[in-house]
């Protein structure tokens, strides 16, 4: 289990406590600045209250994220197979050397990056369009529309993966029948028999499933753009495209970046769709599946932990790039301007 937990909880660990703690501290500092001595007791009480409120969650976070991460790092330094407990052996960074010199790791990384980039880009464009539709929809149909758009997101990934798999499967699928008129598609096309077509189905399923999530985040961003700004632009004679490019998008940059970051982290840890549809066959191996294969199937806890740790480092890198280089403001997008 150690293999899957660290990566899965990263989003929560890096994103959630941040805003809460920051908001608390800002308030405290602001008041301290005005009259430090008079309010010091109150500030202390508030801080204490802050810790008491956030403390249990913080401790639980430490237990469920920090502990498994440290355990995984420790285990990754050993050659250790669950069914041969007596042969546990310390090998330092040996597992990392094996992984980083193995073409399987690099092809898995490449596939994972490809899936991440393609799905996030397509989802961003589609999600933005859906957000606009939801934003502009008449009040009477707004509820219905939002529900309809959110349905795929409410479906369990494994279930949607099976649905897509059976739709495209050469034996039971109907896609070849329906789309036989398109060039390249006929009765004999086996979608899961080669990498490119299999990846197409995996990515399409992923996009169908998670576009609603990104559109919801973008809708929140759209709602934050003041109407006066677009009105003013209209009065100045700006076309629709100019309003979009010069007023709306710049004003919701924070929301877009947060949406991209969250989805990129999620997409990078893709597992369910690949596991169900191809189980990594024919060039569809992704990093999460690689970690799973080492630690769960092979029961090689050391090697599997090392893959998990490397996967975790990749996720951290994505966070670092987004937050430091693209300056994603996690607090701002949540309305705490």
């Amino acid at each position: 289990m150690t293999s899957a937990i660290p990566a899965r909880t990263t989003t929560a660990a890096s994103a959630e406590p941040g805003p809460h703690l920051d908001t608390g501290e800002d308030k405290g500092n602001g008041r301290t600045g005005k009259a430090p001595k008079q309010y010091s007791e109150r500030v202390r009480a508030e801080r204490r209250l802050g810790w008491i409120l956030a403390g249990p969650a913080f401790v639980i976070m430490l237990l469920v994220t920090l502990y498994p991460i440290l355990q995984a790092i420790y285990e990754s330094l050993f050659r250790f197979r669950l069914t041969a407990p007596g042969e546990r052996e310390f090998i330092g960074l040996g597992n990392y050397a094996v992984i980083l010199t193995d073409p399987v790791w690099w092809s898995g990384l490449w596939t994972t990056v490809l899936i991440t980039v393609v799905t996030v880009l397509v989802e961003l464009v589609l999600g933005f369009a859906l957000a606009l539709v939801m934003h502009k929809a008449l009040k009477s149909v707004r509820g219905l529309l939002r529900t309809a758009i959110l349905v795929p997101y409410g479906i369990i990934t494994v279930v949607s993966a099976f649905a897509w798999f059976y739709a495209f499967d050469i034996n039971s699928g109907y896609i070849n029948n329906w789309f036989g008129w398109l060039p390249g598609i006929d009765q004999d096309l086996n979608w899961f028999a080669q990498g490119p077509t299999a990846l197409f189905v995996i990515m399409a399923s992923e996009i169908w499933k998670t576009t609603p999530f990104i559109s919801l985040l973008l809708l929140a961003g759209l709602a934050q753009v003041p109407d006066e700004l677009t009105e003013a632009a209209k009065v100045d004679g700006a076309t629709w495209w100019e309003q979009m490019r010069k007023v709306i998008i710049p004003n919701m940059k924070a929301a877009i970046m947060v949406a991209v970051l969250f989805r990129a982290l999620d997409a990078f840890r893709i597992f369910d769709n690949v596991f169900i549809m191809t189980n990594g066959a024919y060039g569809t191996e992704v990093l999460s599946l690689l970690a799973y294969r080492q630690s769960i199937s092979r029961l090689e806890i050391g090697l599997g932990s090392a893959v998990s740790v490397l996967l975790f480092i990749c996720v951290l890198l994505i966070c670092f790039v987004a937050i430091k280089l693209f300056k994603v403001d996690l607090a701002g997008s949540q309305g705490g301007k």
């Binding site: 249990p56 499967d169 066959a281």
Partner: protein, 438 residues
């Protein structure tokens, strides 16, 4: 005042949390400890049509209250069953009284001592009249570590009309070359399992064994010393057959993703010709006819024979599967568990299990039950096949060997008789030495 009230309310939460924790903890503990009678045995079973649950009930009743067997369902595929059992055994789970085990994974569990040794008298009583292959699959380092329950094997299923049109005499043993020729001349698809899955290893192993070779030369060796027999004449012959079927499209377009169920669907269709598959084919096809989803004439057209040969003059070595019963080394009720195991594998139970669930007995005596011939007209072929069947490599590192084969021998069209046996040998050896990822 406000602050104090706030603080006070803040303090309330941990208390609520602690209380909730206590309540949840107590509930969880009582759930674990409650309802466990001293003579209750847990039998971890693979999913079936309810046959194992029925046998558990019958044996519990027959024991006159000495024990009751409760079944606990494992995941649907063999690999996931192994994952769950291995993790439980490694963690010292005491609830593993009886386990339904897939033979290839037995050495992995026997080597670290996860399985309780079988008492001599039980060995004697449960091995009489048991087919050779099933015994081999139940043994590790010359000792019986599990009790054979049922044994599975693949036979050759064929459409009589296609065989006749191709001029094949099916009363005589046929070779893979004859089948490939027939499929090509009749423009039909061969039913083989080309997916990157366990079924690929089953196929490769059967071909290599039928050609007189073995995937592993010394199965009992340690990971660093294991020597593979793939890079041999037998391995090349196996690769030649698989690659010809793949490259010439003899398996149809679904070959690279085809497992046992998908082969059956193809076999029942218009392009069906010859198929290697397990006995479940018969109840599945009869069931489809009864349900009205398949024409009776398809069922009437089906014939069966022993697994095809690789070379004309050498008997084939059909795949062997099935389920053996193991008792957990940490179980506190081992005596009762072995008593229950003896009841479960009784000849009557094996015969009934075959009739109701379609899983063939490992005990040849069970085939004399008149109900069997009635439900499975091919029972004699199955029994004969079991007698010559060869198990997959018995090694604690079976998972690595099997996954390694799957990754290097699929899709069939990418197999090259000149290079695949050698490169897959090298790959698996490197994986076993911890130099490669899988």
């Amino acid at each position: 005042m406000r602050i104090r009230r706030l603080t006070h309310r803040g303090m309330g939460r941990p208390r609520v949390a602690v209380l909730t924790g206590l309540v949840v903890g107590t509930l969880a503990l009582s759930a674990c400890g409650g309802g466990e009678a001293d003579n209750a045995l847990t039998w971890y079973i693979n999913p079936d049509d309810g046959g194992q649950a029925t046998i558990a009930q019958q044996c519990s009743d027959a024991s006159g209250g000495r024990y009751t067997i409760e079944t606990s369902l494992l995941p649907s595929d063999a690999a996931s069953q192994r994952e769950q059992l291995a993790r439980r055994l490694a963690a010292g789970d005491k609830s593993l009284d009886i386990m339904s085990l897939d033979p290839p994974f037995i050495p992995e569990l026997a080597e670290p001592g996860f399985l309780a040794p079988i008492p001599e008298d039980v060995v004697e009583r449960t091995t009489e009249n048991v087919v050779e292959g099933a015994l081999a699959g139940a043994t590790w380092k010359d000792e019986l570590v599990t009790v054979p329950f049922w044994a599975n094997t693949q036979i050759l299923w064929y459409r009589t009309s296609v065989a006749e049109a191709a001029g094949l005499d099916m009363t005589q043993p046929v070779t893979w070359d004859q089948l490939m020729e027939a499929a090509e001349s009749q423009d039909k698809a061969l039913g083989v399992q080309g997916a990157q899955a366990e079924s690929m290893t089953v196929w490769v192993n059967a071909l290599v064994e039928s050609a007189g070779g073995s995937i592993i030369v010394d199965p009992e060796a340690t990971a660093d010393e294991i020597e593979l027999g793939l890079d041999s004449e037998a391995g090349t012959e196996a690769a030649r057959i698989i690659s010809t079927i793949g490259r010439e499209g003899l398996g149809g377009p679904s070959l690279p993703t085809q497992n046992e169920n998908a082969s059956l669907i193809g076999f029942q269709g218009d392009s069906g010709s010859f198929m290697v598959n397990y006995p479940f084919v018969w109840p599945a096809t009869s069931g489809a006819v009864e349900a009205g989803t398949l024409d009776q004439e398809v069922l009437d057209d089906i014939g069966w024979a022993v697994f095809p040969r690789v070379t004309e003059d050498q008997e084939s070595a059909p795949p062997l599967g099935g389920i053996n019963l193991g008792v957990g080394a940490e179980s506190e009720k081992q005596d009762l568990a072995f008593e229950a195991v003896e009841c479960i594998v009784s000849v009557e139970n094996q015969a009934e299990y075959f009739v109701t669930n379609g899983n063939p007995p490992s005990n040849t005596e069970a085939y004399e039950d008149p109900r069997i011939e009635e439900s499975f007209p091919m029972a004699t072929t199955i029994r004969d096949s079991l007698q010559i069947a060869a198990p997959r490599p018995q090694t604690p590192f079976y998972n690595e060997v099997s996954t390694g084969i799957q990754q290097t021998w699929a899709p069939p069209s990418a197999v090259d008789p000149d290079t695949t046996p050698g490169s897959s040998s090298t790959f698996i050896t490197q994986v076993l030495r911890g130099e490669r990822l899988l």
